[in-house]
């Protein structure tokens, strides 16, 4: 019969149309921004800097090693190292970034900076509603805008943050054990010397 193929096709379309009233699978449109889809955990948008504790300047994990700056493919990160040092989470004095700019109009969310960072200092955020009227300075994020607490990281990427926290706690424990062993050895030597010196 002529037109049979068209009728078969129309039956499919009708099934989808009628089905969209009764089945959730056929009604796929989400009325954004009133409705939102639950975010997927691994999603990545733009980088942010992680800090531990309450003070973002003192707790910033970044030590300005500039590895992310070198590896960034579109070269959107700009770092200036500080001249003094501050203690990091294990207590060791480290440099910190005096300036850390990311131009998110250039950043392409490739997340290579996260992959190469040896200090778990830079991670990917999930914020994408970042439109602004100023297309130059409004899209250049500086150190203060980029610094976000570890609690924020735990909220957006729970599984990843748990693994990072475990890794950092293990490192801190190892550093602490090494420091304790070194101080015990020094105390033992100091205790032995006056005994020798007295002779």
């Amino acid at each position: 019969m002529l037109g049979e193929g068209i009728l078969k096709g129309l039956a499919e379309t009708a099934k989808n149309f009628a089905g969209s009233f009764v089945s959730a699978e056929r009604l796929t449109t989400v009325q954004y921004p009133e409705e939102r889809i639950a975010p997927i955990e691994a999603t990545r948008d733009f980088p942010f800097l992680v800090y531990d504790g309450a003070d973002w300047e003192a707790g910033l994990r970044c030590v300005a090693c500039q590895i992310c700056e070198k590896e960034c493919p579109p070269k959107c990160i700009y770092i200036e190292k500080s001249t003094d040092k501050k203690p990091d989470f294990t207590g060791k004095p480290q440099f910190y970034p005096a300036r850390f700019d990311i131009d998110i109009s250039v950043c392409m969310s490739c997340q290579i900076c996260v992959e190469v960072c040896p200090f778990e200092a830079i991670k990917m955020d999930t914020e994408f509603e970042l439109s602004t009227e100023d297309r130059f300075a409004g899209l250049l994020f500086d150190r203060k805008q980029l610094a976000k607490p570890n609690e924020h990281y735990r909220k957006i990427h729970p599984a990843e943050a748990a693994a990072v926290d475990a890794r950092l706690a293990a490192e801190k424990a190892k550093a602490g054990a090494r420091a304790k062993a070194a101080s015990d050895a020094a105390a033992a030597k100091a205790a032995a010397r006056p005994a020798e010196g007295g002779d």
């Binding site: 700056e69 070269k75 959107c76 990160i77 700009y78 700019d101 990311i102 131009d103 250039v106 130059f136 250049l140």
Partner: protein, 178 residues
């Protein structure tokens, strides 16, 4: 597929006077190549395509390379009929400035048509015998050849907040000129 030495012997037997030399490739993948003399390249290409043992009827990729002293065109050949390949053949120009002609292999394999136009556009190799040699990716009035290593980009900085190295130097020069 035969080794490059055997292919070289076969070519020299079929096309006498064809200047063919083997170019070794130190990588582990083992894709050796043959360098052809431009004068006999078209005859060698026809032989490789039509000979019953090779039947290299499919030209997969044409690449242009900018060496410090000359330009080069590299062709990757496969055989769809006999499911073999790749055979890599190369041709070098005499220099980079005024003697940059090479024979076009478009009369043998049509797939070279757009790719040789691209090499002409981006590197500057002039393919003689190409049916329609004009720029393909850049616009027709464009001067210069962008993929060459001595290509200087035009000065069109607008806003460079996170400039590094080369870009930083040129951005500072641009700003000082304004």
């Amino acid at each position: 597929m035969k080794t490059v030495e055997e292919i070289k012997t076969a070519i020299e037997a079929a096309v006498p006077g064809a200047g063919v030399e083997i170019v070794l490739n130190p990588s582990v993948c083992g894709q050796q190549s043959l360098r052809l003399a431009p004068e006999s390249a078209l005859a060698v290409a026809t032989f490789l395509r039509n000979d019953a043992e090779f039947r290299l009827d499919y030209l997969s990729n044409v690449t242009g390379i900018d060496w410090p002293d000359c330009l080069e065109a590299v062709y990757h050949l496969y055989s769809v009929a006999l499911k073999q390949g790749p055979l890599v053949i190369r041709m070098r120009t005499v220099n980079r400035t005024d003697q940059v002609e090479l024979p076009s292999l478009t009369p043998v394999w049509r797939s070279a048509e757009f790719q040789e136009r691209e090499i002409f556009d981006l590197f500057g190799i002039v393919f003689t015998g190409h049916p329609d040699l004009r720029r393909i990716l850049m616009w027709d009035g464009f001067k210069d050849h962008p993929m060459r290593r001595d290509y200087v980009e035009p000065d069109d900085f607008e806003y460079e907040p996170t400039a590094h190295d080369e870009v930083l130097k040129r951005a500072q020069e641009h700003r000082s000129r304004e």
